[in-house]
Symmetry: C2
Subunit: 247 residues, 2 copies
Amino acid sequence: MVNYRFTFSYDGTRYHGWESKTNADTVEGRIEAVLTRMVDAKVDIHGAGRTDAGVHARAMVANGRLETDKTPEEIKDYLNRYLPADICALDVAVAGDRFHARLNATGKVYEYTLYVGAEKPVFDRNYVWCVPQGSALDVDVMKKAASYLVGKHDFRSFCGNNKMKKSTVRTIYDVDIVKEGDYVHMRFHGNGFLQNMVRILTGTLVDVGYGNMSAEHIPEIIAGMDRQLAGPTAPPHGLCLMKVEYD
Amino acid sequence: MVNYRFTFSYDGTRYHGWESKTNADTVEGRIEAVLTRMVDAKVDIHGAGRTDAGVHARAMVANGRLETDKTPEEIKDYLNRYLPADICALDVAVAGDRFHARLNATGKVYEYTLYVGAEKPVFDRNYVWCVPQGSALDVDVMKKAASYLVGKHDFRSFCGNNKMKKSTVRTIYDVDIVKEGDYVHMRFHGNGFLQNMVRILTGTLVDVGYGNMSAEHIPEIIAGMDRQLAGPTAPPHGLCLMKVEYD
């Protein structure tokens, strides 16, 4: 059995998230089904993270063991022939036997896109959050608020799983917010993110952008260790996993 | 009854084209249903053209008569509240009583987008034609071929309706072909286009790009007045109506 490293892009719109589930159409489930068919034996893969239903990826990394005569390039071609049009195998490579896509990941980049234009974005509707009265958003104050997130913090207040037993300490290296025309791109780079964390960070920064809370309130939210203090969870479809980093 | 001029953008993916049809979900049908509900009387609108199933528009113009106390801005807001997320009313204005969106149109711009990259474009899959072996396409020879299309010609060879009784003479002002990364944008500007004409022009230019026919063959196809001489009809989803012009 050889351990392979896979990189996938996908449009998450019509899936119940990344992770395989019985009786639900998921991205991982689709990929495992094609690989299982290819080698005629059950294949399990492990993603670098779990994206929620409706969340997209430009470069999700996964690993999985299988036995085949095919070259990595042939495996990639097989995947792209049998996967649906909204999932693409970007790369397949032989990995070291100990490589694990989730456990070995040292960083991730997520991008959340807001749409602040006046007209409904018919072509981007599945990839952006159309915030109401988007022109009222103060992007500069959002940048200020984001600067307080950078660093090593306990992000329990931004965790969607309130029964989380493991550590909720994470390091955010950078939050880059750029307004381009009718779009606000918010890029989060960190060593890892908790469940719903990027969506809650986004909902909170948007609250700040509307003036519902001040930028200086962010350190208090972090210190409070209480999900109730942060803003709402932004909808999934504006979110995209851009990159997974390894040493 | 006041004659209004409407401008719409739409993602045509899930519709059976623009034109209202009994028992089929169409863009015009959706818009007429909302307007009919708004004024509580049957409203008919007239589009500047008929886009095929799967074809998109960034600025389809239509006109229709109705009686209402609402301002044009209020009509627009009503439309955007009740139309689905893939149809947007961009503009509503009072038009002259004799304005007819189709009969008064003096020009149209369509854009056809080819995808020539190696990887499946999961996010653009409904808006581009993924041509096989796209990297083999010779865009310069396609530009050469396109130059023969410009001018006033009988485009019968490029008409999808072989029972067309009316004139098949049209004037193409310009065909602009630009390669940007993995995309080839083909912009057709003319005084009007026959049924499937842009799709057949595209299929023919792609044939030339692959070297299946020479650029110099285009004048012979035009002169032959026979649909069989031209290339295949390109798929609908790469096509978008960009603009309708009026004097």
